[in-house]
Symmetry: C3
Subunit: 352 residues, 3 copies
């Protein structure tokens, strides 16, 4: 997509609620990264790690954090805002808004059951399947090659990208975004060992998945249906790619689940929980509101609200960092004990 | 799905082989979770962690483990069984059995090659592709938008959910269940470095995947075809979502592979192996019968039959648990050594 | 696929540049694994772990490494080469070359926009979608049920397997291979917390993904589009199944990324980097040329070129292996300190 801005610095400052330093009448051409922006373009400094890149950038206008007034840079104009990354995203959103939109249409190549309920302004792409009794809310787009199972309900103004599977009886709220390759409502992984035969007997998985409003789910995610009742994703929660959410899990509102994390069956998360990438949670545990878990950590038991956890197995992060530091000092500890034993004349054959 | 039971407590006790306490003539309305069950409903206590929830449940009838006769609860009727979760699943299976079933059909919107062999009672959903020479056994359902490659063989009474890919020459046994988004038979990850150019040269992957009878495979799983010969999944083995099984792996019968686990090339598992979630196995190793591996563990070498492994890198679980406990006590150990050094007048500048 | 060789030992030696020992006129029937090869078949010893299997093999001809002249085996003929696995793969490639190939065709059941640009000799499978402005280069195969978004560009002689999604504006070079279930160009995971409401506001993701020449990408991989600019995969890089590559990541040429690894946003990799399976990299870091990272490691900061890293958190591998060895000796260290304290009469109530 061409990121043409075509607004003056002053216009942009008004849009993002920022304060201009330099030439406000300057007309911005494009939005671009620090590296790629030219003398007519807009960029931003969103992370102090990139302060040098900002200083070296050829951008004509930079969105900068308040307090960065002294940053030396090539930009003729600067706009100071509280959150430059978000301000830049507001400019991008303006550009996206201007793009021509296709009128809604039910593609003739889709397979839509005559007993499916389609709201006004719904789009369904080619080779999508909408089964009997499914209901798609106003203004929702079902991408090409999606599968919407029997009696599934999708809310209003959702964006379901190509090749998503939403199995029978599952429910998605309003304004949800679901990316390609994601499977919602596959059977939970439930088997019971038959002690006599050693065979694993399947436990029926006849519940569903309920996804709240304003949820975003990345690509190739798997959220399993509950055995009975519902697997739940709270409103406003955002889930990254390749995440596994097992049957019966309940995730509260406004959580962030980073990619490749797995949550085992029936565990419950409060609101505003943040799980880093590749985190694992065992089943049947409770994670309190606002808990944050560092990447690759393993959570094996309940975590009280507000705790920051890290490590494998996870511990409160200060304790975990301290232990890791001591772990790195094991060679000197072994050395010290060896020296003490020599001094004391302990020669027991132990290697420590 | 409505979980209407519409049977008396006595009927249910007969179905599950349990013993009634209380009113056996009581007519059960629905099957439900402990939290959601009302005074006319059936629920169960499947895990001692939920004993309080069972005590607090409004369920009219509870399936309870033998020995829980003294549990105080609101249930007017109780049924005591060996395995309440399995008993409850038998009730669910009865409900599923009663659901009306669509007659088998080859959807007119599917693309089925005229040289594909279709058994009696096969269903193929819309936009599915069945290539030349593929064979689908009696009573098997191929979901919408599935891809069945040339000369692939699918057994009898399988359930292949929408958007599964089974590549050319792969074989699936009878009664297998494969969930959406799973890819069977993509090329194994095999490259050979060319020392002169630094380029990775592709090694042809011309083997296949052979999946046994009664295997269940979750959503978004990847099982690669062997370079030569077969990648094998033993009969009765159950594989959870997002699992990676590399080329040439051989998994024995009746194993359990929990989600997001990865098994590198050519490793071999015996029967009844259990791998927890997010486990990693390196390639070219042998895992004995009945081995159990804890979640997130990393297995780097052969494991003898019957061993329980845990940790990264994994060790026998008792050793691993002991080492983790000692790890948590490193601060006191460093403190003790410091104290000893003071007492002995050792002042070598080391920090330990 | 039948792996019929139908060449003499001498012919094969010529093909692979090897030296024959034994009967060069012997006609080879099939290529097979060490276990499955019969007295008329060809196999190979590619890994010293399988020396016993080679000795026990019934293969009539073995490809062996130079220096293995003394290996006792049943093979009547042996061919000595520098790299037996690669030599075997050359035989497989010859077999693959001989297979009859379908002529290119645009399947009548595909949905190809009239403003898509199709090069000569392009194939598009049934139920694939190619959107407006997409361009497919000469000789490229787009598998069944693929989705190629608006203005996406795919190079020449690529092989895109069934059910791949390549979103709008993304670019793929020449001779790329992309396996089923992979999603290229889903939105990056970018949200900005609104401190007033506690809600996560979506940051538009309007960049793209640029995949170089000769890249291979496995099954069910997710490569997100950049917020602005491009996520980049360098030419010659090979990516295994279920890998996560976040927005704005730049991967250099000729890297190897093993399955289930995740790379967080904006991190940059040099050339010839090797990441083992299930590795995690945090965002905004730089990994130098030729870095190698062991399986399941967690990389939390920049890594200089040429380093071998291992562990969680990762350290240079020698240090990591030493620390792990000392970790395993913690019991004897605790024991030694206890003994010292006894000898010194320290009885402070500490357990160490």
């Amino acid at each position: 997509m061409e990121l043409n801005v075509n607004k003056t610095v002053a216009d942009i400052a008004t849009l993002v609620g920022g304060k201009v330093a330099g030439d406000g009448s300057f007309l911005i051409d494009k939005a671009a990264t620090l590296k790629e922006a030219g003398p007519a373009d807009l960029s931003f400094l969103g992370n102090q790690k990139y302060a040098q890149a900002a200083a070296a950038s050829q951008a004509g206008c930079l969105l900068l954090p308040q307090g960065a007034e002294s940053l030396a840079c090539a930009a003729k104009s600067r706009i100071f805002v509280e959150d430059p990354q978000f301000a830049f995203s507001q400019v991008l959103a303006m550009i996206v808004e201007r793009q021509p939109k296709s009128p809604p249409s039910l593609d003739a190549k889709a397979s839509i059951h005559y007993q499916a309920k389609m709201g006004p302004g719904v789009s369904v792409g080619p080779f999508a399947v909408v089964e009997r009794g499914a209901a798609i809310g106003e203004g929702t787009t079902i991408g090409a090659q999606c599968y919407i199972g029997e009696n599934a309900k999708i809310g209003r103004f959702c964006r379901i990208y190509p090749q998503v599977v939403i199995r029978e009886d599952c429910v998605v709220g309003d304004r949800a975004v679901i990316h390609s390759g994601t499977v919602i409502g596959a059977d939970g992984f439930g088997f019971s060992p038959d002690k006599k035969t050693g065979k694993h007997r399947k436990l029926p998985q006849v519940g569903n998945v309920v996804v709240g409003d304003d949820v975003e789910i990345g690509a190739n995610v798997a959220i399993d249906r509950a055995s009975v009742g519902s697997t739940k994703i709270g409103s406003g929660t955002k889930i990254d790619n390749l995440v596994q959410i097992a049957h019966g899990v309940k995730i509260g509102p406004d959580c962030i689940i980073v990619s490749q994390t797995g949550i085992a069956g029936s565990s419950e998360l409060g609101h505003h929980v943040v799980l880093g990438g590749q985190v694992g949670l065992v089943g049947h545990i409770a994670i309190g509101d606002g808990v944050q878990v560092g990447a690759q950590s393993g959570i094996m038991s309940d975590v009280p609200a507000g705790t920051i956890m890290f490590g494998y197995p996870a511990r409160p992060h200060r304790e975990s960092f301290k232990l890791q530091a001591l772990y790195g000092r094991l060679p000197e500890l072994f050395q010290a004990v060896k020296q003490i034993k020599q001094k004391l004349g302990i020669t027991d054959g132990s290697k420590a």
